[in-house]
Amino acid sequence: MAVAKGAPKRGALLSIKIPRGRGASLGFYIARRILWLIPVLLFVITITFFLAHLAPGSPWDKAGGRQLSAPVVANLNSKYGLDQPLAVQYIKYLLNVTHMDFGLSYQYQNHTVMSIILESWPITAINGALAFLLIVPFGIGIGIVAALRQNTWVDFLAVGFSTFGASVPNLIIGILLIIVFSVGAYRVTGGNVFLPTGGFGLDDHLILPVITLAILPIAFIARLTRSSTLEVLRQDYVRTAWAKGLKERLVVMKHVLKNSLIPVVSALGPTFAYLVTGSVIVESVFAIPGVGRTVVVAVQSRDYPLILASTILFALVIAIANLIVDLLYVVIDPRVRLS
């Protein structure tokens, strides 16, 4: 029998030894993905560095009023290495970054950028982690319940919520929550019961910021879970599971969830990225002294070393989160090919 030119040889599919081949290629894949972080970070550093250093004016310009005298500016320039050629500064910066030295802050003099970030990072991480703990159960739960009760009022409510949550930005949600639960509650209860509008503490200070941060990803994941669950519910094997008389709980747990949650895992990457960039907005609205707030203050006061370092940190966290999520995806879905 003549085989058409270009058609795969018979048995070609069978010759792939899945366990060994996949393990080896997984290692190769991880190595390549980690190496890929280098050009990404280099790009981020380079763009941010040159944008910051080519900006008109010097970091010592004061907005209106008296300017610093020339000798003071010269001293500051030499303290921060700004008197050297740009190329030299750039190379030095890159070398310093390789051992986690991000220089001194312009704004908080005599504080290293690293110490400022280390101080504010845990606050952002706590808010992000708590939001994540809300996102996964609520997002998936709402999505599954909506799919199982398709076209009932439960479903309409869930779809309505997820459309609202995915469309109205966290900035607005945060402000509306403050109006209702801080200002409104304060007025209604005469100042007895209300939620704080700002600051950080391991108490009721966490409630509004964490909810604000979590609503968009919950809405997004609920939407995704609902549509992927609806698709799985139509599969033959689910019908078989119903037909053989399994209880709803068993059908959902054993047959539906395993498959319908696969696409949801891929949404966790963007979720992490959002938790990081979302912190910029949420921490500004609620005056939380985390990394996001630090970035905004650094931008407002043109504290370039701090801007650079936080941008690098954010890019790194997002890249690593994406890497972990992609690996998770490879592990749970055997159909994924590593190309």
Binding site: P39, A52, S167, I172, G184, I281, S284, V295, I318
Partner: protein, 301 residues
């Protein structure tokens, strides 16, 4: 074989009912009440933005910059329907002028996305090979850059102006569109009907205009529709943080910032721009969802 035979007989082969792409899409869009609601709201907003200067000229509403400090933080009244801000400026007039900035920025920035994303996507998808590889690696690297951070850096570095904001917003958001257009170009240029058209002697220009364009346009329009609220949101965030549009220009972000200062005493100050932004973004999402369903050929009956 019986079932299809019956169905085939019902088709009037001599006079097939011809419904054009756009007419068909519009018919399906019209049947979606939520999408139509979104369209009506946006049409009203556009109208409001367009006639705002006219109304100021006719003294129907006040000038958005006219201060009346004695009458600051006023509540709803006949003179100032939505009240006044901390300088006694009329909030209704400021919301209407804010719509001008938000809507024009939202729509114009999509043109920048279309130009940059379209160029990257078309070149990468059409030529393929090494060019595709190189361009898409660049897109991947760009994608890793957190967009809000990049925006903050750019607007803090460049002198503050509407043009700066426009350019900064334009260069951050085009990546998704580049990926989309590349994917569309790649898949469509291999389709049989394109090959058929080529075999029948159509010129490349005719193929692009008659076959490639209508078939890529749907997803692109949907993507751009969802891009508008994203830009409106980013403008509001940057202005709220004090690095976007600068006071006294009436933008919704600036109004959020002004109102937020007085949130405890006069919550309606911040509530008004917040609701304006929320309604606008929701309406654009409704339209985007409606367009996606209407333009997706797989949904066609």
């Amino acid at each position: 074989m019986a079932a299809p035979a019956v169905a085939l007989e019902q088709i009037d082969w001599e006079n097939p009912e011809q419904v054009g792409l756009w007419k068909d899409a519009w018919q399906r869009f019209r049947r979606n009440p939520i999408a139509v609601l979104g369209l009506i709201i946006i049409a009203l907003l556009v109208l409001m933005a367009l006639i705002a200067p006219l109304l100021v000229g006719l003294h129907v509403i006040k000038d958005p910059l006219e201060q009346d400090v004695v009458n600051s933080y006023a509540s709803f009244s006949l003179k100032d329907p939505l009240g006044t801000d901390y300088l006694g400026r009329d909030l209704l007039s400021r919301v209407m002028y804010g719509a001008r900035i938000s809507l024009s920025l939202g729509i114009l920035v999509q043109l920048v996305y279309l130009v940059i994303g379209g160029a990257f996507g078309l070149v990468a998808g059409y030529f393929g090979g090494q060019i595709d590889n190189l361009l898409m690696r660049f897109v991947d690297v760009w994608y890793a850059f957190p967009d809000l951070l990049f925006l903050l850096v750019v607007v803090s570095v460049l002198p503050p102006s509407l043009l700066t904001l426009f350019l900064a917003l334009g260069i951050v958001g085009w990546v998704d569109l580049a990926r989309l257009i590349r994917g569309q170009t790649l898949s469509i240029k291999e389709k049989e009907y394109v090959e058929g058209a080529r075999a029948a002697g159509s010129s490349p220009l005719k193929i692009i205009l008659k076959h490639l364009l209508p078939n890529t346009l749907g997803p692109i329009i949907v993507s751009l529709t969802f891009g508008i609220p994203r830009v409106i949101f980013l403008e509001a965030v940057l202005s709220y943080l004090g690095v976007g549009i600068r006071p006294p220009t009436p933008s919704w972000g600036v109004m959020l910032q002004d109102g937020y200062q007085a949130i405890f005493s006069y919550p309606h100050q911040v509530f008004i721009p917040a609701v304006a932004i929320a309604i606008t973004m929701l309406s654009f999402s409704f339209i985007g969802d409606g367009l996606r369903d209407a333009l997706d050929p797989r949904m066609r009956r």
